[in-house]
């Protein structure tokens, strides 16, 4: 057995919501029997983005806001890998907003987890894109990632979990990763992960969360009805959690499957000149 990098101890504050998420990712990977060498965790910048250090996986620490672009690059290069990108709400919805919206369009079969705590924790409590009006002087409307994601007509898997409910979280992550394994496309899970130091929302969120699957008319294959259900719930002052979009089965709708078919992908292609000689000769002969 060759010794690879060992996980380090989490740097998070005691009670941080990110601990639940870390435990759920571990459990989901174990339940799905994904070997460490086949699992890539792309971390963003911020407290939550350091999660890749705390797991026995291939970890890559992306630039601030760019984790989705890097995660898509990993998946397209080697579609065999399980790719999980994980970061915070500042990383994903502020500096990374451009890539965030495009990730739904692209529909690569990766899982993106945003640990949303409605603040910039690592830089000590500034308002983030999801901060409520009034938080640390915030006067801008909070961004709703699920609502935005529902507006893009792509066959993505969309869910929200709550760090106060780790059991449901594991089940949702497992489903999301299975969705990726079937090359069906992009899975997005927003985890409500309170920052106990700068924005402790545990109590408030525990009161406000509503399991969307328990609501009348719940049908995650029907975007239109989910929009309505979601808006009705939020306008009633509640926070919906659960699966919001679970597209009817579309075989291999994932970007990597559309581009590569059954090819092994750029990272595993045989690239020696000798093994491609005839094709290269043909390519160069076509240049006039």
């Amino acid at each position: 057995m060759v010794q690879s990098a060992k996980p380090t101890a989490p740097i998070w504050c005691p009670g941080c919501g990110d601990f639940s998420l870390l435990a759920a990712v571990k459990k989901a990977a174990a339940n799905l029997k994904i070997p460490a060498h086949d699992l890539v965790l792309v971390g963003g910048i911020g407290c939550s983005g350091s999660i890749h250090n705390f797991l026995e996986v291939n970890g890559i620490h992306a630039l601030h806001g760019r984790l989705l672009a890097q995660a898509v690059g990993v998946k397209l290069a080697n579609p065999h890998l399980t790719v999980v990108a994980a970061g915070g709400d500042g990383d994903g919805y502020a500096i990374g907003m451009g890539h965030f919206m495009h990730a739904f369009k692209k529909n690569a079969s990766i899982l993106y987890i945003v640990m949303n705590n409605e603040t910039y924790g690592l830089t000590k409590g500034q308002p983030s894109p999801t901060s409520q009006i009034g938080f640390e002087g915030n006067i801008e409307a909070p961004f709703d990632a699920i609502l935005s994601a529902l507006s893009i007509p792509a066959p993505n898997f969309l869910a929200r979990t709550f760090s106060g409910d780790p059991k449901t979280m594991t089940a949702v992550l497992e489903e999301a990763i299975r969705f990726n394994h079937e090359h069906r496309g992009f899975a997005f899970v927003e985890d409500l992960s309170p920052c106990v130091t700068y924005n402790d929302t545990y109590k408030l969120w525990r009161e406000k969360v509503v399991d969307v699957s328990k609501l009348p008319g719940y049908d995650p294959t029907d975007r239109k009805s989910m929009f309505r259900l979601y808006l009705e719930t939020t306008e009633a002052g509640k926070i919906p959690i659960g699966v919001f979009h679970r597209p009817a089965e579309v075989a291999r709708a994932g970007l990597e499957a559309k581009l590569l078919g059954e090819n092994v992908g750029p990272a595993r292609s045989e690239i020696s000149v000798e093994s491609n000689l005839a094709a290269y000769q043909k390519l160069l002969a076509g240049v006039a």
Partner: protein
């Protein structure tokens, strides 16, 4: 090169009326075509290029267009010669004008024997050696659309230059066959309309003749196409880019080439995404590249820094244009070097290598991929607009010398010899063996944070110093792997010339002109520009009394870099600079050398 006398005669075509003077034979001719965007000047340029290639001539074409699709002045020039060429000819032999601006711009460069053919539909040219034809009107009636006027102009031109009729038609057939029946048929009709009109003008037919050459089996290609081909042959399988002039064609060619090799090309949402997608793919073990120009390079800078410190092998092709900001998107400059040498915040190793012509672009792209993966650094392929977009004849690219060197890449086969896998293991040469994710039994932490050998975040000062030395040392360790300079001219010359990129073309032609005048020069073409190859440039500068660094920017960026790196040669270095958006013409270089001017 020499051509047997028996083969230098004019190409058969219509001869002029009896009693007219013999044709002026052109062995090195330049045709400039100018008009409004949408007039089809580039098509005429393409047709001429194809014709001259059929005649076994070397060809070099350049274009001067605006960053818009319709309207605005655009011109193109086609040069053909019996000898190898790699620059725009300072003189124009024939000018084809679709607007008055073309005449205004071109007449200054028109040779004494030069001739102007213009579309008299909209304007009149008051020059003795000029013939106007209402091309737009001539084709507009029978063909229904004036757009065929460019092909009619090509027809008139074929008469003026004494082209072979069959070959002239073949060129049209080759160019338009893919568009199908009607386009081809109408273009052939337009060709005849142009030819007929020209034949009716006394003294026009056969005024010139074009020498035939023996340069067969060459290809006519651009640097951008060569980079794309080099990328495929070098094992590149993942490309992400964002459209930007003059780099876009690299992506477009790869969209055609890569899928059949199991490769992936993505047009990203911006340059930030493009560089980060290739970072992810390279981390996953693919050979990757992006291509961009100044504004995109600025956006990619943070990502290139991550490649340097996280040791992720990426190749970035920088097709330089006039900057900063939007600058002049379609014009030529070499003004990114200072940025590239100091690229980004913090310090990290990078190799900046600069090909000079399409063949060099092909082989150096292969080399860039090898260097990046072997040394686990970002490699910048430094190109410039003229190199990227001008076409030049070239020998067929040499597959024989292409090879893929994956360096110390680990695979499952290496496992039995290993006890531990540290992705940032310290080593004598600074290279840590790397296992891509998915290699059974191995995993790692890869990060742009400062890290220890395992990839764990580290603020330990001793580790920081060792890691900095490991990474920065690559720029010294890799010295003998980096593309070597090329030296041209007399070893005992006392006047030195230094340049890189497409500027090599006009520099080499300048050198030939000076040699013919009995003036010896020696030219050092730098192919690695950063880190500065002191071991090559120091002996060169020792051997000369003065060296002119010839480059396209205002501040003399390469000269400044040389002065900084080789301060003991400070007094020998002079600059010849041009930053008007156009490439050097040989007289402009000669004028900058007081020893010979």
């Amino acid at each position: 090169m020499t051509t047997p006398a028996s083969r230098t005669g004019p190409i058969s075509g219509e001869s002029g009326p009896a009693g007219t003077p013999p044709p002026i034979e052109l062995a090195d001719l330049s045709v400039m075509i100018g008009g409004q965007g949408g007039d089809g000047t580039l098509t005429v340029s393409d047709l001429l290029g194809r014709y001259f290639r059929k005649c076994g001539l070397y060809v070099y074409t350049s274009r001067n267009v605006l960053s818009r699709i319709r309207g605005g002045h655009a011109d193109a020039s086609v040069r053909a010669s019996r000898d190898p060429i790699s620059a725009v000819k300072p003189e124009v032999d024939v000018l084809v004008a679709f607007d008055n601006e073309a005449v205004e711009m071109g007449r200054a460069e028109l040779a004494a024997h030069g001739y102007v053919i213009y579309d008299s539909t909209g304007f009149h040219v008051d020059l003795p050696n000029a013939s106007g034809f209402p091309f737009a009107t001539l084709v507009g009636g029978p063909l229904g659309q004036p757009i065929f006027k460019n092909t009619a102009a090509y027809g008139a031109l074929s008469v003026l230059l004494g082209f072979d009729v069959a070959k002239t038609r073949e060129v049209i057939e080759e160019r338009f066959k893919r568009r199908g029946g009607e386009a081809l048929e109408k273009n052939l009709k337009a060709l005849e309309i142009g030819r007929k009109a020209a034949l009716e003008v006394t003294g026009l037919a056969g005024r010139f003749s074009v020498a035939e050459g023996d340069a067969h089996d060459l290809i006519l290609t651009t640097g951008n196409q060569a980079v794309a081909l080099g990328f495929v042959v070098g094992g590149g399988r993942f490309f992400a880019g964002y459209p930007i002039t003059p780099a876009t064609e690299v992506m477009e060619y790869l969209q055609r080439y890569l899928p059949s090799f199991g490769g992936v090309v993505r047009q990203a949402e911006d340059e930030l995404a493009a560089v980060n997608m290739i970072l992810g793919a390279a981390y996953a073990g693919a050979r990757v590249m992006t291509s961009t120009s100044g504004p995109g390079l600025s956006l990619m800078t943070e990502g290139i820094g991550q490649a340097g410190t996280a040791e992720i092998p990426i190749v970035v092709a920088d097709c330089q244009r006039v900057g900063p900001s939007t600058g002049q998107p379609t014009r030529h400059e070499q003004s990114d070097l200072s940025h590239l040498a100091n690229l980004g915040h913090g310090e990290y190793p990078r190799f900046v290598i600069a090909p000079s012509d399409p063949a060099d672009c092909f082989s150096m792209t292969v080399e860039a991929l090898n260097l990046a993966e072997k040394w686990r650094v970002p490699v910048i392929l430094l190109l410039d607009q003229a190199l990227c977009q001008n076409t030049a004849t070239s020998a067929r690219f040499d597959l024989g010398r292409a090879h893929v060197d994956r360096g110390k890449r680990l695979t499952a086969a290496d496992l039995p010899q290993m006890t531990e896998y540290k992705a940032y293991r310290f080593s004598d040469d600074g290279i840590s063996p790397y296992a891509a994710p998915g290699t059974p039994g191995l995993w790692a932490e890869i990060t742009g944070n400062e890290h220890d050998e395992w990839g764990h975040v580290s603020v330990n000062p001793t580790n920081r110093v060792r890691m900095m030395k490991k990474r920065m040392g690559k720029m010294v360790q890799a010295r003998d792997d980096l593309p070597p300079c090329r030296l041209f001219g007399a070893p005992d010359a006392k006047v030195g010339l230094i340049g890189y990129g497409s500027t090599s073309g006009p520099i080499l032609e300048t050198q030939a002109i000076l040699a013919a005048r009995g003036v010896k020069t020696r030219y050092l073409q730098a192919r690695t520009v950063y880190p500065v190859p002191v071991h090559e440039i120091d002996p060169f500068l020792k051997s000369v009394d003065v060296a002119y660094v010839i480059e396209h920017n205002y501040t003399g960026q390469f000269a400044r870099l040389l002065r900084e790196t080789l301060p003991w040669h400070h007094a020998k270095l002079r600059s010849i600079l041009k930053y008007d958006g156009y490439t050097f013409r040989t007289p402009q270089i000669i004028a900058g050398i007081p020893e010979v001017a």
